[in-house]
């Protein structure tokens, strides 16, 4: 399972590609596969040309893409996204949602939490509404 956080949770002192590599190292993926897999996901999230930059050189949307790339690189069946657009402006949030849609179409299950009604209407997927920790609509 891959996890995407609202506040990105990227490692500030590692480059974009190193942030993604960490997930592979944690998952014990052999290091000879790292380059290929990191390049693939960075291309998927559109950060292939910014692989050697540090987080403080990236915008909010790009940071969220790093977080998404890190979640995707371990090739999970399910991605748990905790308000992935919560810290982003609408335009950037739309970009992230498009990316999530694309990943979903490639066969990944995405469970996403959001407070954003617009995103729910736009996404048109199964929605479970919670209020104070209780399911009020499925």
């Amino acid at each position: 399972m891959g996890i995407v956080f609202q506040d990105f949770k990227v490692l500030p002192e590692r480059t974009v590609s190193e942030n993604v590599e960490v997930a592979l190292a944690v998952s014990d993926v052999p290091s000879d596969e790292w380059d290929k897999r990191v390049n693939h996901v960075l291309k998927l999230v559109g950060l292939d040309k910014r692989a050697n930059l540090f987080p403080n050189q990236l915008s909010g949307g790009e940071l969220q893409r790093v977080s998404l790339a890190r979640a995707l690189v371990i090739n999970p069946k399910i991605i748990l996204a905790d308000e992935p657009t919560g810290n982003l402006d609408w335009k950037t949030a739309e970009g992230i949602m498009e990316l999530l849609e694309q990943i979903n179409k490639e066969g990944k299950t995405i469970i996403m939490a959001t407070h954003h009604e617009g995103i729910i209407k736009h996404a048109k997927h199964r929605t479970i509404k919670l209020d104070d920790g209780k399911i009020i609509k499925t």
């Binding site: 996890i3 949770k9 490692l11 500030p12 002192e13 960490v22 997930a23 190292a25 944690v26 290091s31």
Partner: protein, 305 residues
Amino acid sequence: MSIHTKTAVDSIKRSPFQAISAIFVLGLTFFVATMVAILVFATDKTLTYFETRPQIISFLKDEATPELISVLQNKLSSDARIKNVKYVSKEEALEIYKTATSDNPLLAELVSPSIFPASLEFSVTDLKLAEEVINDVKTEGIVADVGFTANIGGEKSLSDVVGRLKSISNYVRVGGIVFVAILAISSFLVLLIIISMRMTTRKGEIEILSLIGATPAFIRSPIVLEAIFYSLIGVLSGWTLALILWLYASPSVISYFGEIPVIPKDPISFFLLFAVILGVELLAGVVISLTGSLLAVSRSLKKAR
């Protein structure tokens, strides 16, 4: 380079002054440890030298024939309490005298071989047996007198010399161990402080690594590696400094102590001694860094929870 090694190297590069202070303290510890090890070696060698050199000289009567001397030599050689029996003729005794008085040749010219008695020199396996052996040898017909060699520093007998050397050796050993232990504790504490500081500055990173599923071993690895780097560099710098000093000083030390083998005279034994010290120090360095860093990590992780 593995991800852990890279993280450790980056961490060292980011805080060079912390790294330098850790390496400096560890280097000092292992420099002193190397010097103390060599001093302990030297005192042990000196002690062994005095314990094994001919301790008893039985001066033979002028009328002792070569046959009788040979019989006595064989008898002494077969005695379990006695070792290293050596015959010294009148001429050899004169040579020894000449060598000893080489700074004043007139003294040597005044004497002839006839005034020096031939002797049988030997050591005892245990100095406690010396008196008993001397009394036995005195009863031999061709023996004129029996005495100890090497009265240095005003000691009355060789056992006094050995006793004095033993006490010096013990002082060096105990003093050295205490001094090195104090320095080792300081190094341990410095490592503990530096690693704890590292843990504090890496708190955010540790939290993120935990969230993405890193095991405690994964989080610990770069921090422990960093501590091991410090101790390895500390050991190598301290040891190298001590080696350079000894290489520089050894010709003077060897010539000052003459035949007493305080340090190995041949280069292979000399470097072998230093290699053994390096091996032990590397092991000690790894133990100090492992325990120090693991303790610091476990304390910090406990606090974080």
